[in-house]
Amino acid sequence: MHKQVKISKGLDINLKGKPALKISQAPRSSKYVVRPTEFYGINPRLSVRVGDHVDAGQPLFYHKYIDKIKFTSPVSGTIEDIIRGERRKILKIVIKADPQDSFKEFKVSDPEQLDKAQILDLLLESGLFATIKQRPYDLIANPEDEPKAIFVSAFDSAPLGVDYSFALKDKMKSFAKGLKALTKLTSGKVYLITDGRKATDFDKMEGVEIIKAFGPHPVGNVSVSVEKFEPISKGDRIWTVNPADVAMIGEFFETGRYNPARNIALAGSKVKEPMYYSIKTGADLSAFLKDKLVDDDVRIISGNVLTGSNITKDQFLNFYDNEVTVIPLGKKPRFMGWLPFIGKNRKGFYKFGFSPKELDLDASLYGEERAFVMNEEYEAVMPLDIYPVHLLKAALLGDVEKMEQLGILEVAPEDFALVDYINSSKIEAQELIRKGLDIMQVEIG
């Protein structure tokens, strides 16, 4: 019997541009990029210089404080440029790709036969450890920690979310092997969250606890299941891994190669033909996207519309993302745009919950920031047992004790994405929670 998690608070946003269930091979990009800034919480030290040649899986940089954590090249090629920002902070490492990949070869092994230390060593050496994030604080895990449990969410409930049962359908064996490796990393359980509405290959996975999730977004978020099955207290560590990365870990043990190729969803109302593409993380998307968009007045997002990052200017696929979403930009003033029930501005989101028509939403802010007023909205999209308004206010003030009491250790910024979306005061909730978590980490670690 599978475990279940059911929520009623939340919101499914029915967006236009859902990806069709077919996969096409994206052409190999000439450039790939690795951005240390994507790996939240690390301090990068370079292991390469401009002009060096690297194989796929060869380290580019490592974490200054835990130098075992290495970050490796997705392809083989030559380091073309290392771009730095203010105070010489490394922003991105640009790799000019070879026409054919040469791989750094690791030992092919069966995770079943290895112990925890051996698996960790392999993951750290190949750069795959970077795919493991920890709660609390939502940042890269520390290999020295003993995680209480590991959660993998194969249910992307976000708007235009990735259908992992489709994206990984040819990689189920690798996925199973990846899960095996993860079970070795914790003395606790490994949980796999799946879409409760349908039966998929994920339900057949062995050696893990399967959670069937029912309800609106954010039901697929790890936090919802963590709260129910392995609530986090001070000192606890929970690790989370994305299912595509689990498959990648499995593949690594099968082939001995680090090859971050994955099937990503290209979705959104500004995409001519939304569907899945096989592509590598870090790939330069500008050539790939060129003839696939309806027009230029767009916001290009690596990830989903709620938590992704804006890559309109700098079109590279982020390390953690399995999706590229393109929506209209909507940068125009609207005559009396605040009038309810009138004109095209009417979105009908007064009512939360089910919206039968597919919506074509743009990236307009629709208003200006104000003080907290409509507190009812926040709670309506917060399925966790916390008080969002009070937690946000505590985060705003940087009140460590209050934040801890109100449960900040149980949340990640992504859990507040719907609050960003719904609130009429235009409060940047995800940003506030991120800042709050950063303060907490410095204060109590």
């Binding site: 125009k332 003033p333 745009g337 979105k347 007064y350 307009s364 309506a380 609130n423 009429s424």
Partner: protein
């Protein structure tokens, strides 16, 4: 629209940093954003946002108040002509009431918004939209005969002491509109209660009785109104409060758009009904004998519970807290009404009192959540 846009663009530089009227930027922005929702796009956080903003929220409340306002205007004329024993048409009644009520609304908005703009410029922050609602609420909860200067003074008091000293919309403790009414009620009681303030005095009558139902009951008088009069609102009272039907239409809009909390409305009426029912059983005086369901129809109860108790800023902020908060408002409103005939209007005091207590209710609700969390923590470490 293009012309208007050009107009704003042309003069914007004067209000930007370094411009001639830099200080007036908030005022400029208030006007501009009223005409045009700015072209800002999301920079961080979620890339898509609901089209709702505070302007839309506040305007929705104003829309919800329109039926009660229009009916109130008509009722002012209706009461006047009936008591003057003149022939009249519905149009006559409305036009008469319109010219009585409109100046009140204009005074309320002009005085209130001037202060809001002044504080925005002074503090260099955006003009908040909260007064759009408050500005209409204040005239609706006043007797129609109130001198405009008292109205203006009440507005000044409410906006400054009730709101701005706390930091503006979103920070205030008590409902500003009720602050205005409470101020007028205690500072100028002769203009706010009695038999003659609810209906404009007919010129041809030396003495007439325009007392409210609650006023009459408080005196132990019998009333000549049926429940239909009370429900449809053809009774004397503050301008917006008389018609329960019109208030319920507004309530429907507020609930449909999820602007107001249904928890507060339901628990408010529930609390009032239960309290009134208990008094019915007791039955020591006319007010106690007054049927419990008619208690829900008269006075400012419906208006208060639907439009004032649900003010999200001053209400309890947690779902559990809202149930308690609303219930106690209903309960206290009827209790004050019955126990103290000198203040037959208990709703105002009940809401103001509960506004003050709401943070305490929330405190205990949240403390329960914190305790649960801490208990888990202790169990884990033990």
């Amino acid at each position: 629209m293009k012309v208007l846009e050009k107009f704003f663009n042309k003069y914007e530089h004067l209000f930007l940093e370094g411009g001639k009227y830099e200080k007036w930027h908030p005022a400029f922005m208030a006007l501009y954003t009223f005409m045009f929702t700015p072209d800002a796009t999301t920079r961080k956080g979620a890339h898509i946002r609901d089209a709702v903003d505070l302007k839309r929220v506040m305007f929705t409340v104003v829309l919800a108040l329109i039926p009660a306002t229009l009916f109130g205007m008509w009722n002012v004329g209706y009461q006047y002509f009936t008591h003057a024993q003149l022939d009249f048409t519905n149009m006559d009644a409305f036009v008469y009431g319109f010219w009585k009520v409109l100046p009140m609304i204009v005074v309320s908005y002009v005085v209130g918004l001037s202060i809001e703009f002044y504080f925005a410029v002074l503090r260099g922050h955006d003009v908040n939209e909260g007064y759009l609602v408050t500005g209409l609420l204040i005239p609706l909860i006043m007797p129609v005969t109130i001198p405009l200067w008292i109205l203006a003074v009440s507005v000044v008091f409410a906006v400054i002491i009730g709101k701005e000293v706390f930091g503006g919309t979103g920070m205030n403790i008590v409902n500003p509109a009720l602050t205005a009414r409470a101020f007028a009620f205690f500072a100028y009681p002769t203009f706010m209660s009695g038999n003659e303030v609810w209906i404009p005095k007919p010129e041809n009558a030396d003495a007439y009785s325009g007392e409210t139902i609650l006023g009459a009951l408080g005196q132990g008088h019998h009333i000549a109104y049926t429940w239909k009069d009370m429900f449809f609102g053809t009774i004397p009272g503050s301008i917006g409060e008389t018609s329960v039907l019109m208030i319920l239409i507004g309530a429907a809009l507020l609930l449909y758009t999820r602007v107001a909390s249904w928890r507060i409305m339901v628990s408010g009426f529930l609390g009032a009904a239960i309290m009134a029912f208990i008094f019915n059983l007791w039955g020591a005086n006319t007010l106690m004998q007054f049927p419990w369901w008619e208690h829900l129809l008269v006075g400012g109860l419906a208006f208060g519970v639907v439009f004032m108790a649900t003010d999200p800023v001053t209400a309890a902020q947690t779902r559990k807290g809202k149930w308690i908060y609303g219930f106690l408002i209903g309960l206290l409103a009827i209790m004050i009404r019955v126990f103290n005939p000198a203040y037959p209007e208990g709703v105002m005091l009940a809401i103001l009192l509960m506004n003050v207590i709401a943070p305490t209710i929330d405190y205990y609700v949240i403390q329960a959540n914190i305790k649960k969390r801490m208990k888990r923590l202790v169990k884990q470490t033990a």
